[in-house]
Subunit: 377 residues, 2 copies
């Protein structure tokens, strides 16, 4: 079955679209976005009943480019999951990927032009939250004529959006797939985000967030942030299996150049990321992660917070994920069960840590496919 | 018993001493230190048989100031363990603390004057390893007339030194106490060190390690390094219990100032550390950690590496330590058992993570006291 999937067709060449919104968007921070753009992609065809739409929400560094191939050859970040004959089958579903507000891939965000000034927003782009993203996505759904999603799907921060959809728009989501996620960050999660932010904020090239005008990019800070992130995306075991203590040379050479292969890997990942991602978007997105807490207005009672939900849920975690460990997914599952929601839960034995949600691990994809195949349109 | 300990006397006012060595020290890197100073402290009295000496080895940011009080009021970092009537009882033992080579508390290191140039060593100070530290400590023991230690004791990186003592000088150590340690770093351990190093190396104030001459200190990088370190010293649970998601204000204020208390804690720890520790020492010490691998010359066979040891061992780990988890201590225990060494092992249930080894957790101190009380002089 897996081999059949891996040779399944791609959705092929896709072209991002832009939706411009002129109705001001009130934000959780108290601010307002007077107008904004959302860049999105779609795969498959919306059926006549408009009942087969699935929204895929992206995580920290993701984008609207979920599946298929761009003209420049870049493949969507969840292309192994979304396509004809794949678990999220575009022969059956109309799938939407959208770049969140504050992002750096074409939707309104710090690196986009602020219409009020004609210059990049930079640090003046307002704080955005998971709830704000969902509100903006709901307006895109309105625009596309989608009253109710067959499913909203996401991993990590994307899973938080899927969960939030079922709380903000309970009548507009039939199923939520919440993968490798958590109901809120722990102190340790926030701590890692804070170190990453400080690396960026303290970079002399950051210029209080207005580095665009200075013709520089805080690459040092952004690379450090990504290196820290990467450590938390991989399991200790996965790093051990992939790199262990493998040396670049046959014995230590005693220098600050690359000595162990894990150092080379981290530096490469950091530098690569700093070459394409926007530092302000990184800051905003880690803050959105920190702030997310659906139980905040319920005195921390997640069961009470989830009582307004009407969706069915699939919650998936990975045994070696220590960023959002299975225990964090179980918090969601227990709260949903106490709120009398229908919830399926799978804990996948996969060595790859948090990043497992991006891989096509057979058991994982089989669980997703089984659940998605049973979704009634 | 614990209360009796907590009111036990301190060793009182202590004054560091300096030993100058003119015999060149060959280093594992292939270099040589032509001459060097070691700063040390002693507590208690060496007995006539010279059989009651105990060496305490420090970890990443520790020093020779193990116990007692300096004239400036600063208390030794293991004062809860070392003193009259304490588990390492200075009424019975002659305890030595020494600042390692490459340190920044008075022993020869990057911030000390290079006799060859009359300027601070800076980046020219050679790489030092756990084995080099042990060699230097052995010369200090010679100077103090100590042929054989009743015990060598250390936590974390200090535990690696205690282990290495029993391999480099098997006839000179009766007991090794290896606490919250590991036989070598994992890829993940190295990864955290590497991010910390990159934060320092990329700080514009680092000036290739010769910042002393520029009148600046790479405080940004050093603070980031410490923040990263601190996350790994505490358990997820301990951070959760101490800070959780506690906000500075009654609700989020949406800014990059301190929002959650954990952010305030980390920033404070980072800034404080950057105010007194030396960045080059931090770099050198993390490299010493990375390089330590007693099984390297034995094709990774730790049992073979430990066969030359003659000491008895106490190995201690802490359940919530994820930097050097109990499984890492058990690697040492199993290898020692297969090498037919006498080894006691305790896994202490303590919530504080890696930093537990510095605390006076009752069960932990009781284990140390029971073992130390049984040491024959």
């Amino acid at each position: 079955m897996q081999e059949a999937q891996s040779v399944a067709q791609s959705v092929g060449l896709v072209v991002p679209q832009t939706a411009h919104f002129t109705e001001p968007l009130p934000l959780k921070s108290g601010g307002v976005l007077p107008q904004y753009d959302l860049v999105y992609e779609t795969y498959g065809t919306l059926n006549a009943a408009r009942s087969n739409a699935v929204l895929v929400c992206h995580a920290l560094s993701g984008s609207h480019h979920v599946a298929g191939v761009h003209a420049d050859g870049s493949v969507g970040w969840w292309d192994n999951l979304v396509g004809p004959g794949k678990p999220l089958d575009t022969n059956r579903f109309f799938v939407i990927g959208v770049n969140n507000l504050g992002g750096c891939y074409g939707s309104s965000g710090p690196n986009a032009i602020n219409p009020a000034t004609g210059k990049p927003w930079g640090a003046d782009f307002p704080f955005v939250t998971v709830e704000d993203w969902v509100d903006a996505q709901a307006r895109l759904a309105d625009r596309l004529g989608i009253e109710r999603f067959a499913a909203v799907v996401g991993g990590s921060l994307g899973g938080m959006q899927a969960l939030s959809w079922t709380l903000q728009y309970p009548d507009r989501v039939a199923h939520a797939l919440v993968i490798a996620s958590a109901p809120k960050l722990t102190a340790q999660n926030i701590a890692f985000n804070e170190v990453a932010r400080q690396a960026i904020l303290k970079d002399p090239d950051f210029h209080a967030g207005h580095y665009y005008e200075h013709g520089v990019v805080p690459t040092r800070g952004l690379a450090l942030a990504r290196m820290i992130g990467h450590i938390t995306y991989l399991s200790d075991d996965a790093m051990g299996q992939k790199f262990g203590r493998a040396l670049r040379h046959d014995k230590p050479v005693f220098s600050y150049d690359v000595e162990f292969e894990i150092e080379s890997y981290l530096r490469y990942q950091g530098d690569k990321f700093a070459g394409y991602f926007d530092a302000n978007t990184y800051l905003l997105t880690t803050k959105a992660l920190d702030y997310y807490d659906p139980a905040f207005d319920y005195n921390g009672d997640l069961v009470a917070a989830l009582e307004r939900a009407k969706a069915d849920y699939l919650v998936v975690s990975f045994t070696t994920d220590w960023r959002f460990a299975p225990s964090r997914s179980r918090e969601i599952v227990y709260a949903l069960m106490h709120s009398d929601r229908r919830v399926s839960y799978a804990e996948i034995d996969c060595a790859a840590g948090h990043d497992s949600f991006l891989l096509d691990e057979p058991q994982y994809h089989a669980v997703l496919q089984a659940y998605i195949d049973n979704i009634q349109l």
